[in-house]
């Protein structure tokens, strides 16, 4: 039996999925959840084989939820309309279903997932899929991070600066610092570039948080932040600062 959970915020959408799945023999639906928080908890606790996942949901959306998981189950996305998702999934997803979908279409997607699960192929590419999604993504307005057992939503307005640390990025905010498993490149692409500047290979700052730019050595600069801290500025970072601040 394929242990399956459904995550979608609309009861009718879940009931349709449930109804279709009831007609497939090898499926056992072990839970239904209406938002990203509950979904995250359920995936961690129940360890399902397969998840049908909506993208637009309360609290955490489907992508934010997946970002916070260490072990990914097989995912079939179920979405109404998402041009980025469609693009991203075309090559990599186990499958994606566009609402409304038929029983046959669902069965087809399920067969694909079942094959992957029974071959116990763990190398299936959801991580890849998420990063593809990131490349198409427009600017983000919040970031979901895990702090211990809790989930914290960081609004980008609250970010002061970011520092890369190996495979992670440390996000410094008004109320503390948070680690996120992402690349600096990702943040450079997805934070609004009118408010954030990549000033160095390892640093990105919020423009409003810059106190002043100081000459450090000949041809070399540092930024003094509003909290008194200084961070280095690379040559290309300095050029970016110049062009966006017009000096």
């Amino acid at each position: 039996m394929i242990r399956t959970i459904l995550i979608d915020d609309e009861p009718l959408a879940r009931s349709l999925l449930h109804n279709y799945l009831d007609k497939i023999e090898d499926v056992e639906v072990i839970g239904e959840f209406g938002n990203g928080f509950d979904g995250l908890k359920a995936i961690t606790n129940l360890k399902p084989d397969l998840v049908f996942l909506d993208i637009q949901m309360p609290k955490l959306n489907g992508f934010e939820m997946l970002e916070l998981l260490d072990d990914l189950p097989h995912i079939i996305f179920v979405t109404a309309y998402d041009q980025y998702a469609v693009k991203a999934f075309e090559s990599n997803a186990v499958d994606y279903l566009l609402k409304p979908f038929s029983q046959e279409r669902l069965l087809n997607a399920f067969q694909k997932a079942k094959e992957l699960i029974q071959n116990s192929s763990h190398n299936y590419p959801v991580k890849q899929l998420i990063s593809d999604h990131e490349q198409h993504l427009e600017t983000i307005d919040r970031i979901a991070v895990k702090t211990g057992t809790k989930i914290k939503i960081i609004f980008i307005e609250d970010i002061e600066y970011l520092e890369s640390q190996d495979d992670y990025v440390m996000i410094y905010t008004v109320d503390g610092k948070y680690l996120k498993q992402k690349t600096m490149k990702y943040f450079e692409n997805s934070l609004p570039n009118e408010s954030f500047i990549r000033v160095h290979r390892s640093y990105m700052v919020r423009i409003d948080f810059v106190e002043q730019i100081e000459l450090y050595e000949k041809d070399s600069y540092v930024i003094k932040l509003k909290n008194g801290q200084t961070i280095p500025v690379s040559k290309s970072g300095y050029n970016r600062l110049r062009s966006s601040l017009n000096f």
Binding site: D9, E10, P11, L12, A13, S15, L16, N19, G34, N35, F37, Q56, M57, P58, K59, A80, Y81, L98, K99, P100, F101, D141, R142, I153, F155, E157
Partner: protein, 359 residues
Amino acid sequence: MIHPIANNRRYLVIYSIFWTLIATIHGVFLFNFYNASIYLTIVDSFIFNLFYAIIGLGLWYAVKFSQMETNNIGNLVLNHLTAISITLVVLLVFGFYSVKTIPVINEGYSEFFNSTLIWRILTGIVEYILIVLIYYLLMYYFNFIEKINLEAELKTNVKVAELNVLKSQINPHFLFNSLNSISALTISESKKAQEMVLKLSDFLRFSISEKPDTIRSFSEELDNIYTYLDIEKVRFGERLCIKKDIAKKCLDAKIPSLILQPIVENAIKHGVSKSIDNVEIRITADCFQGFLKVQIENDFDQEIAKVKTGNGIGLQNIIQRLKLIFGRDDLISINGENGKFLVTITFPQNGIYDTNNIN
């Protein structure tokens, strides 16, 4: 450009009066200073000025041919010197021989004509200048009017185009999610599925058929919003609560069509669909002193969404539309505090019809 005088009866009458006046002055001169008889005076003034009036109509083409924008000064002077010479020669030759054919005008007319020749040439030149000036004035006046009309037309076209862009579009997310709900209902509750198909059709028909500048009654606009909310209610169930407080006297008020739709959609998108808790959308309306005031308020989850008042494209579009239709930007206020998002719009009721027939 067509002949401004020959093709306009009113101008033709004025032109005739003008020449009658000139002919009278002509007569007074001949009678008083050249001692012509009454009979000669009348015949001479009538014939010469009739001829000049006819030639004068033709001078329009000389003016049209000599527009100041397309000719240099040399050309202009040459054109007018040619025109004035031809005019005077034709006028004097034809005038002289015509008058001579009239009986009772005796042999003495030739001497009389010679003695008045200089005077005739001088007045002819003055009259020529007068006519040409009037033609130039008319030409510029008509060009000016045409330009103003063209500009107004252009402005209207631009406005319609802008309004078209700003008009709320059917949100595909809403559409496909609704279709999915219908798909689900066909399995369990076919009656309800049919109901929803009908509502969705009503809503789509309204949204698609509306012209962007249509002004309609507040009650029609409200009905459409209620249809929309009914559909969303099927999707979200308990999570969506709607509270209405509409003053009855406001139902006939006028309002640009579909202008509230994006606000209600925003309330769903940022309030209901992002929150786990039940979210209330409150619609209130009141009328006072020639204004309809509509407020749409919704709760939102402060933990997961920050409010950006007026940054969204939807709200920007409404602000732009209000500006285009009413020419004011103080009609909308947006407020997001303490987990409540409130949009207030005041619609002036006077003068709202002016834009009704924009095209």
